[in-house]
Symmetry: C2
Subunit: 169 residues, 2 copies
């Protein structure tokens, strides 16, 4: 499977992984959420090769996760800013941070603490059900095929028939 095929799969995980599912992209997004905006900023914070950084930034802009905004003429310079689509990645980032905080800390303790402005307290992110507000766990969730999956199944069925015809010919 190639990267660009992932985005066509009838699976929201596959499609999302097509956008953010590699090491450097996730690290770049971490920096975005920590308010880094410029090429040099990303490069020196991450130690990524300049080549790859340029490539990943372009890809994120193409996909609408970042916006490239000029901040000076002569020479032309741009900043990379999260779009709303990019900001919406926040729960993913927080979920990743939290898992690391719980399962990957060493003796030194947590690298970062998070304070909620609204209530003023240090907090952990918690995932709840949008309908009843209770904490979610894998075992309490039932998965059903949605309209996208049914369409995909029909397509797979047709593909299979096409292949069979091809073999016969």
């Amino acid at each position: 499977m190639k990267w660009d095929e992932l985005e066509e799969e009838a699976c929201s995980i596959a499609r999302t992984i097509g956008v953010i599912g590699d090491r450097w992209t996730l690290m770049i997004l971490r920096e975005c959420f920590l308010r880094t905006r410029r090429f040099e900023g990303f490069q020196s914070a991450l130690g990524i090769t300049r080549h790859l950084l340029a490539e990943r930034l372009k890809k994120l802009v193409r996909q609408g996760v970042l916006r490239r905004i000029p901040y000076q003429e002569a020479p032309k310079r741009h900043e990379y800013i999260l779009t709303q689509k990019g900001l919406d990645l926040y729960p993913i980032m927080m979920a990743i941070v939290h898992w690391g905080d719980v399962h990957m800390v060493d003796v030194r303790g947590r690298p970062l603490l998070h304070q909620h402005r609204k209530c003023g307290k240090m907090f952990d992110p918690v995932m709840v059900c949008s309908e009843c507000g209770e904490r979610l766990s894998a075992k309490e969730v039932h998965v059903h095929p949605g309209p996208g999956a049914r369409a995909a199944l029909e397509k797979a069925h047709l593909d299979k028939k096409a292949k069979a015809r091809k073999r016969a010919a």
Copy 2:
């Protein structure tokens, strides 16, 4: 930066990415949450090469995300089951699915729907503050260096001095 260095960084995102931050690992974990347990199951569902699948499964077992459990002798066969550490990845998975549902669906609609057993309704996952229960967004969160970050800063400081001495010599 190499993969194994990621796990030593003073950053929970970097450490987590060191474990799950590649395309195939995330897809394998998707299958785990959909109840796939065996080598052939993963392979045929994902189209991953057998070589990489074997490698990724080993890595996940080493890191305590999966447990390798024999289900028959002669020939020896094993199943790969999520540990608690693995089950705790659920919020990350759900956050990824949800972002895909919102930003990457096509005309066919959502591939999967999620039903919460407790309340019986179809739901979306929502991330809230553990202290006050309000929805989280990036702008409402303040980041503070924790104990792990301070220790890391001191270490970086020492490393820098060591390097300077080396240059001088």
